[in-house]
Symmetry: C2
Subunit: 311 residues, 2 copies
């Protein structure tokens, strides 16, 4: 999902991304589990992200932490994946992964961010990713929010609930999760803004994974819109749309009544496995080594593959 | 597929559509089969369509007839479906359906057009539809081309090869039919034009049926572009894109090597059946009665359902 969303990256020398959140007490030694993940996020979190991007990341991650803390286990991601960088110190990233408690419908929540200076001082790229995967006792959609900022007032935004089934064979699935929840509303609201235009991932697989109500847009301040307008779009419109979709996911998809029959589970696991395998392959395996070198990249990829059970 | 594509219709009092091609020798008596379908189309075909729309329809239908005539059986559509109208004479339509020969991979080809005056003299709507369905001895994509013209220089255009499988579970299907054939090229070419902007069907099901490389756009002459520019876009750019996709469909999807194993056929038939059932339900059953009255609508719907085997 991650870097294949990057239209600008497809024209540059790398496509990569990674992630991080810094905990105030986090040291350099490996941390095999943490009770700090539910701490209120603070202003000094995400030190490298640009201000509007950073505020929104703080807001969205906090919304997840606040509402799901009771059904999420502590992170078991070691500190050298919770925070990593390249030898030159020009790329910083983080992946944090928390599993759902055994009685919940949650498989895992992945929260990540990346900051990376482009070669030759030609700018920087900042990426925030939020995945919420359900387990196969539910067929309700997964959550994806992604911000990929390639310039001071230029951003690719993806907000979606990813279908777990072939919706052409199951039109009632569309009715239940997308039509009755009015998930097309946030997309329509955003696409009405003059700074917003539709975005298509260069990866046909990523396009296919998205739902028919996916927000997949480019927000571009351009020449006629000042930084203030961009920050307002981020704070107000993007934040509102993302929080609406997160709320629908938590209330509708994580709620009671979504458990499925035993015989449906194999199909769900096969499809989920493909989404996770392709996400790792398209984004991480292809790109992390270029940014962080093979050693760091291998460590991060291995950790994600382990959590995704796609080793 | 048909009227649910109509963004302007969703704001008007009807959403309907229908179809026709007039054969020079066609009388008013029922014709239970015809050997005239492969005749060269003539200038007096499609008498109600606006000039640029009409020329393009002629071009596309002829391309199909010329290249597929040898594998298509004569039409068995009766003349009162091959040509129909409402009692007031303000709406005219046609559906022509030809089945594939028993040894081919073709299920059927549907060619249709509709012309309909809007109430109160507020304009007219003209729709051309071309469906090419394969049978379940092949898993290659179906063909869809649709032009929905709501004003002298305003048109919704859909050109696509519809996937037959859940492509998330089968990413190799995307590679074979969409990536290696560069099906994203015609979409990119069209979306670069200033008159063209992305279009989203109001039906979430229709959005889901389309492939990740679907052309689904609005062409709008607007105030700054004269009719000549619109006609040039239609003749040159739309025609080129549609003919490229039709060629890929004929060469890649109807070619050798696409036959599938017996055990795959049930799944294909179930999915194809859902696409056909929903197309009839969303477009025809919901809308034809409003335009043509119940008697004509029932006749046309019954004929399409029979050909689609979704009675």
């Amino acid at each position: 999902m991650l870097s294949s969303m990057l239209s600008f990256s497809s024209h540059s020398s790398f496509l990569s991304c990674a992630f991080l959140r810094r905990s105030p007490s986090q040291g350099s030694s490996a941390r095999q589990g943490s009770t700090l993940v539910s701490m209120k996020r603070r202003d000094k979190d995400f030190p490298f992200l640009p201000p509007a991007h950073r505020a929104l990341t703080l807001d969205l991650f906090s919304a997840i932490d606040d509402r799901l803390d009771s059904v999420l286990l502590p992170s078991t991601v070691p500190s050298d994946v919770l925070r990593f960088q390249n030898p030159q110190g020009t790329a910083h990233g983080s992946v944090e992964i928390r599993s759902g408690s055994p009685t919940s419908l949650l498989d895992l929540v992945l929260q990540s961010w990346l900051h990376c200076k482009l070669p030759g001082g030609s700018g920087e790229i900042n990426i925030t990713t939020l995945f919420g995967f359900l387990n196969s006792t539910s067929h309700a959609p997964h959550l994806l929010v992604e911000l990929i900022q390639g310039g001071p007032s230029s951003l690719v935004l993806v907000i979606d609930l990813l279908p777990r089934k072939d919706v052409v064979l199951h039109p009632d699935y569309l009715d239940e999760f997308y039509l009755e929840t009015n998930l097309d509303g946030p997309r329509q609201d955003l696409e009405r803004l003059p700074q917003v235009s539709p975005y298509r991932s260069p990866s046909l697989f990523i396009r296919s994974v998205l739902s028919p109500t996916a927000v997949a847009v480019t927000i571009n301040g351009g020449k006629e819109v000042d930084a203030l307008a961009f920050e307002e779009v981020m704070a107000r419109h993007v934040g509102e749309a993302a929080k609406k979709v997160i709320s629908i996911w938590i209330e509708k998809c994580l709620g009671a009544g979504q458990r499925v029959l035993e015989e449906e589970r194999d199909g769900l696991e096969r499809r989920d496995g493909m989404i996770k395998r392709k996400a790792v392959e398209i984004d991480l395996v292809a790109n992390l080594p270029k940014m962080f070198g093979p050693e760091v990249a291998d460590r991060v990829v291995a950790q994600v593959q382990k959590a995704f059970r796609v080793v």
